[in-house]
């Protein structure tokens, strides 16, 4: 049971990183990024390929962060002339493009076979102990990322991002280079997602394109909306609640709910979708919505 809880916590924290990045994009800058999973995938594959090639895991993690951040640059340039809803289409297209490249560039990614045997850190330690250590390090990384984005959004820089979220024409007429600010926000959030990808690859030990379906993006969206767009605590809280729900419903049949795994999985989607609709209608600000956040003074 402990092992199960540790595993669940690790996955939840990885999603927490994704949520922190998306919250910077959507919650603070108002960018509708429907392709967040692409940065996650690029990070996972970059780290997997490098470490399989013999690089230390730390190098893989740094490269994953950097590559995902760089990948956000072209999105930023393309989005220069796009209003929010078009950016949504471009980003979802981008994430599917990344997945299809990973699926088809077999010489590099082994395509649908995926990359197996991605090294796991602390392998010398006994099972259990190594996972706990992984959890501890990941917790530290999530805490640092949280402090980083918190500092960013409370700074005058973050205040400009929120001004752009509210009205980019007004921000522009008041002297803000909207494109540059958007690109910085995209790059930072994407870099955090890339780091999440690295942690994912080295924890699961293999990467295949099927792990990076658009569904991942939408889970992160649900977590951010549930927690409250614009609140970093909310992003983490929303992730926690979503994970407990997704995992917890596995045990329903132990409690005598007469549904097999397949039906349960389908029902889970129904409930998640319904919850999202109800949330947006009745409590659009989420649990800890902080759209009225003021900058730190």
């Amino acid at each position: 049971m402990t092992a199960y809880l540790v595993a669940m916590a690790i996955i939840a924290l990885i999603y927490g990183l994704l949520a922190l990045g998306l919250n910077l994009h959507w919650g603070h800058t108002g960018l509708i990024n429907f392709g967040h999973v692409a940065f996650f995938a690029l990070g996972a594959y970059a780290s997997a390929l490098l470490t399989l090639g013999g690089a230390p895991i730390a190098v893989g993690a740094i490269a994953a962060t950097g590559l995902a951040g760089l990948a956000a640059l072209p999105i930023g340039w393309v989005s220069v002339r796009l209003r929010s809803d078009y950016l949504a289409i471009v980003t979802i297209g981008f994430s599917e493009m990344v997945r299809l490249v990973l699926l088809n560039e077999v010489w590099l990614t082994r395509g649908p076979m995926g990359l197996l045997g991605v090294p796991r850190p602390f392998d010398a330690l006994p099972t259990g102990a190594n996972e706990l250590l992984y959890l501890a390090i990941l917790t530290g990384v999530v805490a640092l990322s949280f402090l980083l984005v918190e500092r960013v959004v409370r700074s005058p820089f973050g205040r400009v991002l929120r001004a752009i979220r509210e009205d980019e024409d007004a921000a522009s007429s008041l002297g803000k280079n909207v494109v540059q600010f958007k690109i910085k926000s995209l790059v930072l959030g994407a870099a955090i997602a890339g780091l999440a990808g690295s942690f994912y690859a080295h924890y699961i030990n293999y990467v295949v394109p099927d792990q990076f379906l658009p569904l991942v993006t939408f889970y992160v969206w649900i977590a951010v909306i549930l927690g409250g767009s614009g609140s970093n605590v909310g992003a983490l809280l929303g992730t926690g609640i979503l994970m407990v729900f997704l995992e917890g419903t596995r045990f329903l049949k132990d409690w005598g709910v007469p549904l097999d795994e397949v039906r349960l999985a389908a029902l889970r989607f129904v409930v998640v979708g319904l919850a999202l609709v109800l949330l947006v209608v009745y409590r659009p600000q989420g649990l800890l919505g902080q759209r009225d956040v003021t900058s730190g003074r």
Binding site: D169, A170, G175
Partner: protein
């Protein structure tokens, strides 16, 4: 200070501006009037870099600025307010002003980490200026409220305050008196006069004839995308062509 030369802007087959030329002189308040659809707001949008003209050019202090984006013009001292207020609704009134300061070092991503002292210093300076403006605009009690909660007239004042935070040299105001009650309107008029005496140049679009006649030192009348008449308020008021444009020909 500002020269508009033969600017044409078409939307589909309609020329909103048709070889329009005018000049805004430094130090005075220039009024811009004309019937609906005369092209006033389009002219402002072209000058402020929000629309590219099809023809003609715009010069600001002798430099050609045609087609430059709004954020660059703001840095040169040319700022326009919006006809319908565009406050940052979920930001506090104070933050609306603070975010409008130009060249705040805390808006540099690196500076936040490397020069926190400088950021704090700039922030303190920005806040002092913002609070001063808020009390000038009689919004000081509302500093911490979200801008969305302000009344229509207060939003107009906030819009003006944000523009003033950028310390412009030429301010284009698009209908500053629309939706403002008469008492607030009178104090707004006094504020604009005060600012003008302190050296700020204005160009103002306004439909309220009493207000614009009292406020302006010089007036351009636009109709069908061009300058129909120009002169001192007293002259323009007597001009037969202007009366026709407003009231229809007899």
């Amino acid at each position: 200070m500002l020269e508009v030369h033969g600017v044409t802007k078409r939307f589909g087959g309609v020329a909103a501006l048709d070889r329009c030329s005018l000049e805004v002189r430094a130090g005075i308040i220039t009024g811009l009037i004309g019937p609906n659809g005369a092209g006033k707001s389009t002219l402002f949008a072209v000058v402020a870099g929000q629309l590219n003209p099809d023809q003609g050019d715009v010069r600001f202090e002798g430099r050609r600025i045609t087609g430059e984006p709004p954020h660059r013009l703001a840095h040169q001292g040319l700022v326009k307010t919006f006809q319908v207020t565009r406050e940052f609704a979920h930001l506090s009134v104070l933050d609306n002003l603070l975010v409008s300061m130009l060249d705040h070092p805390g808006e540099g991503f690196g500076t936040i980490w490397l020069r926190p002292g400088r950021v704090r210093q700039a922030e303190a300076k920005a806040e002092a200026r913002a609070r001063q403006l808020l009390s000038f605009l009689t919004l000081d009690r509302l500093a911490d409220e979200p801008a969305a909660t302000l009344s229509g007239g207060q939003k107009k004042l906030l819009e003006l305050g944000r523009a003033l935070m950028t310390e412009p040299r030429l301010l284009l105001l698009d209908e500053p008196f629309a939706g403002v009650n008469p008492t607030l309107g009178r104090s707004l008029m006094r504020m604009l006069r005060d600012l003008n005496e302190q050296g700020l140049t204005f160009c103002v679009i306004e439909h309220n004839m009493d207000a614009i006649m009292a406020l302006s030192d010089y007036i351009y009348v636009l109709a069908e995308g061009r300058v129909l008449a120009a002169g001192l308020p007293g002259e323009v008021r007597q001009d037969r062509r202007v009366l026709e444009a407003y009231l229809g020909s007899p």
